[in-house]
C-alpha cells in the first residue's frame, strides 16, 4: 500500500508487521515517535505485543534481554544519550546472543544539549557485537527494519541488529512509503539457548578466560557468517518486494574516477552532488555504506575517494574514513561534516569533491577549506 510517513512512523509500521512479543519503550528525542506510534497500535488492538513502558533505557534493554532469553521476539528504540545509558545492556544483549532489534535515531551526544543528527552515538557501540545498518530514506527505514528481524534471528547469526536513521533529517521527514504484505518473509524463529524449565541451565555464570575467549570468537564467527545472511536476505527481499539495497549502495559508480563515500542521509545527498559534478564533466560516483557491522569489504582501488564522516573519534579521525583506510588500504580525503545536525547540502558535497586533498582531513565550515 502506498502511503506517506516519517522515518519514525515507517520503523513503527515495520515493527507492527513483524509482530514482536515484547516491546520495551522509553522516550527520547528524536526517537519518541516510534514508541508513541507502537503504543497507539498496541492500545488499538492492532498489535498483539506486550508493551513495557520502562523507567530508563538501561531498563529498556534489560527488559528486552529478559524477554528475549525466553525465546520471545523483542524490539526497542532509542537515540544518543539513551543509547549511551543502555551501553552496559547493549553489550549484554550481544554477549548473551539475543536477536533483539533496536532502532537508533542518530543524534549528537552532549554537552551541550543537541538533538540533531550525528553518528557518534552508534559508533560508540560499534565494538559490542551488534550488527549495525544505516538507512537514508523512509522506505529504506521500513524495508531494513523488516530485514533486521530476519537477519538477527537467522540461525547462523543470532545477534542483535541496530537500525540507524538520522535524527530529524530522516526520523521526521515525510516521504512516500510503500508498505508490503509480509507473508513468510520473517518466519517464526527458534532461539537455541532459550530458557527451558525441563533442562535448567545457568546463563551468564562466572566464565574463565578460555571459555570467555571462545564465546568472543563465536560472536566473530557469526558476524562473518552474517555477511552471507545479509546478502541472501536482501536478495529475497528484492525478489519479493522489488527493492534492492546491498551492503553498500552504488550510484554512477562503475566508471567513476572520484567517489564520495558517506552513510545515512548524507550518502543520499551525495547522489545529487554526483549528478552536478557529472554535468561539470567530473567523472564522479558515490557509495553509501549501509552495513557498518559487519563492515563491508570494498574494492576501491584506482579511484580517488572523498569520505564524509558525520562523527569523529577524538585524537584519531573520522571513523568511516579510517575504517576504509584500515580495511581497503586507501588514502581518502576525509571530510568531517554535519556534526550536531550541521546543514550539509549537495552543493557543499560537490564542493568537497572539487577541493579534495587526498590524504588530508578537513572540518567543514571550520578550517575554511571549503
Amino acid at each position: 500500500m502506498l502511503t506517506v510517513a516519517t522515518g519514525n512512523k515507517a520503523v513503527a509500521a515495520a515493527v507492527k508487521a513483524v509482530r514482536p512479543d515484547v516491546i520495551a519503550a522509553y522516550p527520547i528525542t528524536p526517537q519518541t515517535e516510534i514508541v508513541e506510534q507502537i503504543a497507539e497500535y498496541v492500545t488499538a488492538g492492532e498489535m498483539d505485543s506486550r508493551y513495557i513502558p520502562v523507567e530508563s533505557e538501561h531498563s529498556a534493554m534489560a527488559a528486552c534481554v529478559g524477554a528475549s532469553i525466553t525465546g520471545a521476539r523483542t524490539f526497542t528504540a532509542t537515540s544518543s544519550h539513551g543509547l549511551a545509558y543502555m551501553h552496559e545492556m547493549v553489550n549484554w544483549a550481544a554477549g548473551a546472543r539475543l536477536p533483539i532489534v533496536m532502532a537508533n535515531v542518530n543524534r549528537a551526544m552532549g554537552p551541550g544539549w543537541n538533538v540533531w543528527a550525528e553518528h557518534t552515538d552508534a559508533f560508540q557501540e560499534r565494538d559490542t557485537g551488534w550488527l549495525q545498518v544505516y538507512v537514508s530514506t523512509v522506505q529504506e527505514a521500513y524495508d531494513t527494519t523488516l530485514m533486521a528481524f530476519r537477519i538477527a534471528e537467522h540461525q547462523d547469526v543470532i545477534l542483535p541488529v541496530m537500525v540507524n536513521l538520522d535524527g530529524f533529517l530522516l526520523s521526521h521527514s515525510m516521504q512516500s512509503l510503500e508498505t508490503v504484505t509480509l507473508g513468510d518473509f520473517v518466519p517464526p524463529f527458534h532461539l537455541p539457548h532459550a530458557i527451558d524449565i525441563a533442562n535448567p541451565a545457568g546463563y551468564g555464570t562466572l566464565t574463565g578466560p578460555d571459555q570467555h575467549f571462545k564465546f568472543r570468537w563465536e560472536i566473530e564467527q557469526s558476524m562473518r557468517k552474517s555477511v552471507a545472511v545479509i546478502r541472501e536476505t536482501e536478495q529475497d527481499f528484492a525478489g519479493r518486494f522489488g527493492r534492492n539495497y546491498g551492503v553498500a549502495e552504488e550510484y554512477r559508480y562503475e566508471d567513476a574516477d572520484v567517489v564520495v563515500i558517506a552513510m545515512g542521509t548524507l550518502g543520499k545527498e551525495a547522489e545529487v552532488a554526483v549528478d552536478i559534478l557529472r554535468d561539470e564533466g567530473v567523472r564522479a560516483g558515490s557509495l553509501r555504506v549501509r552495513w557498518f557491522r559487519p563492515f563491508p569489504d570494498l574494492d576501491l582501488s584506482g579511484r580517488e575517494l572523498v569520505v564524509i564522516d558525520r562523527d569523529y573519534s577524538f585524537g584519531f579521525g573520522g571513523v568511516l574514513a579510517h575504517s576504509l583506510v584500515a580495511k581497503s588500504r586507501v588514502e581518502p580525503y576525509s571530510v568531517i561534516a554535519g556534526l550536531g545536525g550541521q546543514e550539509v547540502t549537495y552543493d557543499d558535497i560537490a564542493g568537497f569533491v572539487r577541493d579534495r586533498k587526498p590524504g588530508q582531513e578537513s572540518w567543514f565550515g571550520v578550517n575554511g577549506n571549503v
Binding site: 531498563s59 529478559g66 532469553i69 530458557i195
Partner: protein, 293 residues
C-alpha cells in the same frame, strides 16, 4: 509444622563460604517455589555461589544479569512468559547493594508497573561479593572496608520505599527462621502482581563472627528487635510470631552487637541511634498492625 519438600534445587557443589546465609535462604526459597521457576540474579554473592561455567549448582534456570538490571530483566521475562501462556515463577534474587543502591531505579519501575514477579533481597548489609564495602543497607556504626571508622549514616529503609509502591505483598524474613521464610515465599507466589521479600542474611566473614553462628546471630537480630519479622499483604500489616514476643521483651541490643567484629569499638551515640531507630520502627509497625496509622 509446615511440611518442607525434600527436593533440593541447590546441589552440593556451591562455592559459598562456610555458614553462608544466602545459600541457606535460597535453599528454602527454591523449595517453596518448586521447579517451574527462573531466578534472575544481578551481581552479588549468588553470582559466585552457583559455580563456574559450564557447571552450575542450581537445579532451576538462573539468568545472571548486570548489577542494576535485575528487576527490569525480570519485567521482560515475566511479560514474555505470560504472553506465551506460561505460569513460570520469575524470582529476582539480589543482594542489598543490587537492591537498595544500584538496582533501586529498576526495582521502582518494575513495582510501579505491577510486574508479576517476586523480588527477594537477601541483606547482609554490605557489598559482600567485593569484600564488604558499605551499602545503603549498612547500619550506623558498622565497620566495612569503606567505612573503617564505622558507618555514620543510617540504614536505608527499603521496606518503606517498596511499600510506597503499594505492592500486593511485602514481607521480611530471616535466614534463622526457615519455616517463616518458606511460608512467606509460598504466599507471595500465590498472589498476583509485584511481591517483595526482604531477608536478613547474617554473614560470618562480613559481620566477623564464626561460621557456626549464622542461625544464632539471626535469632539474636530478631530477639533484640533490630530486625522485625512482618508481612504487609494488600497493605495490611501483621507482625509475625517471633517478633511479636521480641517486641514485648527485647533481648539487649548490646548482646547482638558484641557478637560481631564489625561493631567492635562502636561508640555510645551509634548504639543509641540504632536503638532509637529500632524502637521507632517497632512502634510504627505496631501501630500499622493495629490499624492506627
Amino acid at each position: 509444622m509446615t511440611e518442607i519438600p525434600k527436593e533440593e534445587y541447590i546441589l552440593k557443589c556451591t562455592s559459598a563460604c562456610a555458614g553462608c546465609p544466602s545459600s541457606l535462604i535460597l535453599r528454602y526459597v527454591l523449595k517453596a517455589a518448586g521447579p517451574d521457576t527462573v531466578l534472575v540474579v544481578p551481581a552479588c554473592c549468588t553470582s559466585v555461589i552457583q559455580g563456574i561455567y559450564p557447571n552450575t549448582a542450581m537445579n532451576v534456570p538462573v539468568y545472571n544479569v548486570a548489577f542494576a538490571a535485575a528487576a527490569a530483566c525480570a519485567s521482560g521475562m515475566s511479560e514474555a512468559f505470560s504472553k506465551a501462556g506460561k505460569k513460570t515463577n520469575v524470582i529476582v534474587y539480589a543482594g542489598d547493594g543490587g537492591t537498595v543502591d544500584i538496582g533501586i531505579q529498576a526495582l521502582s519501575g518494575a513495582f510501579e508497573r505491577e510486574t508479576d514477579f517476586l523480588y527477594i533481597c537477601y541483606d547482609n548489609e554490605a557489598y559482600g561479593n567485593t569484600g564488604m564495602q558499605r551499602s545503603g543497607s549498612t547500619p550506623i556504626g558498622a565497620r566495612t572496608t569503606t567505612t573503617p571508622g564505622g558507618k555514620i549514616h543510617a540504614k536505608k529503609d527499603i521496606d518503606a520505599i517498596v511499600a510506597a509502591h503499594h505492592p500486593t505483598y511485602l514481607a521480611t524474613a530471616c535466614a534463622a527462621y526457615p519455616q517463616d521464610l518458606f511460608k512467606k515465599v509460598q504466599k507471595a507466589l500465590s498472589l498476583p502482581g509485584s511481591k517483595f521479600l526482604h531477608v536478613l542474611a547474617p554473614c560470618p566473614p562480613g559481620w566477623r563472627f564464626s561460621s557456626e553462628k549464622t542461625v544464632a546471630m539471626g535469632k539474636l537480630a530478631v530477639r533484640s528487635g533490630i530486625w522485625i519479622l512482618f508481612e504487609r499483604e494488600y497493605g495490611k500489616v501483621t507482625i509475625n510470631g517471633p517478633s511479636k514476643a521480641a517486641l514485648v521483651k527485647p533481648a539487649p541490643l548490646e548482646e547482638y552487637l558484641a557478637g560481631q567484629g564489625r561493631f567492635k569499638g562502636i561508640d555510645q551515640n551509634a548504639i543509641d541511634a540504632l536503638k532509637s531507630q529500632a524502637a521507632a520502627r517497632a512502634l510504627h509497625l505496631q501501630r500499622e498492625a493495629e490499624g492506627i496509622c
